[in-house]
Symmetry: D2
Subunit: 137 residues, 4 copies
């Protein structure tokens, strides 16, 4: 069972009003949730800088007609099978595929996998989304 604690923050009235205005626009149910999300985002950035285990997603866009491209991508992914949790393939149009690879591991190794996939001939775009295992959040 997780224990909930409470602390208070002091700031200028005008600043708080402006913050409330923006979080209302983003449909936040409470101010507390909006503030805690900023705290969580900061901690997730720190996990990627200094942490030992992160989760994330690598988004790839490629033309599947590329010579042996899908084979190459599969081989690279197998070399990193210990950090890959799942992958999903979307047919964007006749030529273009979007593939999402969900990963969990040491930040450096996750980045290396993302670099390798991006560098592969035929891959048009690769992007690493830095998320979290959620453990400390």
């Amino acid at each position: 069972m997780k224990s909930i604690v409470r602390f208070s923050v002091s700031l200028e009235k005008q600043l708080l009003q402006e913050f409330d205005r923006h979080t209302r626009l983003e449909k936040y149910p409470t101010r507390s949730k909006a503030v805690v999300d900023l705290i969580r985002e900061k901690l997730v950035r720190k996990e990627w800088e200094h942490g030992t285990e992160v989760a994330g997603t690598i988004t790839l866009v490629y033309d599947h007609h590329g010579s042996k491209l899908m084979e190459t991508l599969t081989c690279i992914q197998h070399d990193f099978h210990h950090i890959i949790l799942a992958s999903q393939h979307i047919h964007l149009d006749h030529n273009n595929c979007l593939e999402v690879v969900v990963v969990r591991g040491v930040p450096g190794e996750v980045k290396r996998l993302s670099d390798l996939l991006r560098a592969t001939k035929g891959v048009k775009f690769a992007n690493l989304s830095m998320a979290t295992t959620g453990k400390i959040l």
Copy 2:
């Protein structure tokens, strides 16, 4: 059939050597691929600023024990079904789930969906990865 063109770039020798050193570390097969990737990344950023159709992935992390959380997330996603291509659910541990929602649509609407999911009570983390439909790339 796509037509390939060729153009040349002039720069200082030392700068090119340094660039080659980094792209080798990232396992790029050719210098041309590394340069074209920089061009593509720039164009994808522009698509998100000014374009009419983008693709991307929204990564969510949440504790599925949250009261009616999964129902709420599903309802929101149904409101945006016209821009959602697929979604995938990963069980990270006993409590935490990672969900990847693949989207295609107008940049503003995709961002609104990402904001709404992030603001939902119980969602610990949400991140929009700005990718591309691949059409102009």
Copy 3:
């Protein structure tokens, strides 16, 4: 006289401990200051997206031997004199200069100035640091 208000935030104990650990490393005097800084950073990002007046700095690095480069940079800056507050010039070494241009104005116009300076032949690097007039903060 600015009026100070107070509000409270609820979160899991473990999450707060982790946040405190990081803000201590960054030498924050109080938790409240660390949280309010996250709020201010969010509002500054929003000012640059939707606001009417922002402040910032454009950092340029160039080799002053470039043909008529300094003249060109000065001409461009004069065209934008209404948004430029000051500029400062540092001699990095025999060839390289670093120039900081402090700007205040509409976000779009500030970005246009930054783009123009970056595109100038001879400029090696230009970067826009998105700060704030401090009014609502």
Copy 4:
């Protein structure tokens, strides 16, 4: 005397047209300058990750009425005098000041200075702009 080299890049015609369209909007004089700038930006990012000497600017916004704030900021800056090249102070309005500190040194130490200034009570905003000494560019 720096030696200039030339290399060529192959890509799809449509992609090149799109790139040219954007660089024209940004007033780039030549395509080559636009491409080399992307290369330089990548190398500057790498310098901040792995390099031994970088240059940059720290932009601060604060209310100078803060108790002993200016003294504290000056003390911190003196502790880092070996990496500070210059600083400039702008009076934004009756209360708010914008200060730009130009720095050169090891990335980690520059970031530590930026963190310390940001954490100081009374500082509303601090931002580190990651530029370059220009040496390898």
